[in-house]
């Protein structure tokens, strides 16, 4: 049976991790390649890198990180941040990533999804969505609105309608990030996650709000997501990936046991 996935997210700025990462040895490591290797060895099913500078002059540094990561880990990984055209997609895939994650750029230019899917296959295109709970209106009947630029800009798009549109355009996966839950460590936004999962057939990754392994369990069962994205709970050494996966396995979720 296809397993549920635990995906670790790393934010990269100027070729370094934006936040120090604390491993068992009490060692802070800012090197994304070294961190990727550690998470790979600990049992992450996938890793996603976000280039949060994404300025033209820093792009080369980031692509160098991607190619060094590709030499160090032997699981799929995706890359997001600053990808706005097919050439950008080519560059990260050539550097060794399996998937491309697009967010604001897809909202501004939905054809990017279909063009990317045609060129590289749907399996390579992940659409990330930042979602904010709002009052239900005629335009936003679900009460969930797509926001961009880190939540600063409202788009007027209903999250459910946008999710369906992304699927129809050829997205292979959706990563649903709740702006309300992000950073709270109170758990994923399960109502949103479940609503999106019921609305599309492609795999959905829950993102934002993980504070403990029980939250992952909720996302993968009640939230019905195929994958859960985690960041700070493993970055600061609070939990290991192995602990998260063991908890999921103990509660009957099919997860990949590393060997």
């Amino acid at each position: 049976m296809l397993s549920k996935r635990v995906i670790v997210c790393l934010d990269v700025r100027n070729g370094r991790l934006t936040k120090g990462i604390k491993f068992a040895g009490n060692q802070d490591i800012g090197d994304p390649v070294e961190s990727a290797r550690r998470y790979y060895e600990e049992g992450a099913d996938e890793i996603v890198f976000y280039d949060i500078t994404a300025s033209a002059e820093q792009r080369g540094i980031f692509l160098d990180v991607v190619s060094r990561v590709a030499q160090a880990i032997f699981i799929p990984f995706s890359v997001g941040g600053g990808i706005a055209c097919l050439d950008d997609m080519h560059a990260v895939l050539d550097a060794g990533a399996e998937k491309i994650s697009i967010n604001s750029a897809a909202v501004k230019n939905p054809r990017l999804i279909s063009e990317g899917a045609r060129e590289f296959g749907s399996q390579a295109i992940v659409v990330g969505m930042d979602v904010l709970a709002v009052e239900k209106t005629a335009d936003i009947p679900s009460g969930y609105e797509i926001v961009i630029h880190g939540g600063r800009l409202h788009t007027g798009l209903d999250a459910l309608a946008w999710a369906k549109q992304c699927q129809d355009l050829g997205a292979g996966e959706l990563c649903i990030n709740s702006i309300d839950a992000d950073g709270t460590k109170d758990g994923y936004e399960l109502t949103l996650t479940a609503a999106i999962c019921a609305h599309v057939t492609i795999p959905v990754i829950a993102s934002g709000g993980a504070g403990c392994p029980a939250h992952l369990l909720d996302a993968l069962t009640r939230g019905q997501a195929q994958a859960a994205l985690i960041a700070s709970i493993v970055h600061y050494g609070q939990y290991s990936i192995a602990e998260c996966k063991q908890y999921l396995a103990d509660h009957g979720v099919c997860v990949r046991q590393t060997w």
Partner: protein
């Protein structure tokens, strides 16, 4: 030295990186003579069957792979490189190499998982194997519960004696096909963590021990 067939099929560099990590020297080439001089040949592949076969025929590499199979040279096909070892694919209505009898079929769009949830196409993610032939050299040292990474919309449906391991997605399908020395794996060993690396290492060990290849 292992030869990785370069026919413009995408993932040859990720296969190369995995072999590098194992300390196995390899060459990515479309030169038949160079590939023939290698101890074993890996056929990678991401993309569509029609275009892949067109490329192989255009470069004459289809002949190389047929000769390799005929003479018992070790061959490992990965994903699309596994599918093209068979007779025929529904994808682009394509005649394949015919080295292993059987067809490639598309996963139906209305499949459900064992727990009743829809199983969307492509089948993408980590899945386990149900091993039919436990003495297969590729599987040496691998725990039976190991997961492998799959990304595919078509699956191989070979004649049963050639089924080495199956996996399950909506229904059982073949994940490893062939016989000693000629194998196809539907998953991506180069992206399957330690078990995948072990499988590649097993292939290399088989190649080194292969008696058919005069050094």
């Amino acid at each position: 030295m292992l030869g990785i067939v370069d026919y413009g099929a995408g993932n040859q560099t990720s296969v190369r990186r995995a072999l590098d990590a194992l300390g196995i020297t390899s060459t990515i080439s479309h030169d038949a003579e160079k590939l023939w001089s290698c101890q074993g040949i890996i056929v990678p592949g991401v993309g569509a069957a029609g275009q892949a076969m067109q490329q192989l025929r255009g470069t004459g590499l289809d002949g190389l792979l047929k000769d390799a199979a005929k003479q018992g040279r070790p061959v490992l096909g990965i994903c699309l490189g596994c599918q093209i070892l068979l007779d025929y694919s529904e994808e682009n209505d394509t005649d394949l190499l015919g080295l292993i009898h059987g067809q490639c079929r598309r996963f139906a769009s209305d499949l459900t998982e064992e727990d009743g949830r829809p199983a969307p196409v492509p089948h993408m993610g980590w899945n386990t194997l149900h091993i039919q032939q436990k003495d297969c050299s590729l599987l040496k040292g691998l725990p039976s519960e190991a997961f492998f990474y799959f990304v595919h919309s078509y699956y191989i449906d070979p004649e049963s004696p050639q089924i080495i391991a199956q996996s399950y997605y909506g229904h059982p399908f073949t994940a490893i096909v062939g016989h000693e020395g000629l194998w196809g794996v539907q998953f991506h060993p180069e992206k399957s963590g330690r078990p995948g690396l072990q499988l590649l290492k097993n292939f290399y060990t088989f190649c080194q021990e292969d008696k058919n290849h005069a050094q």
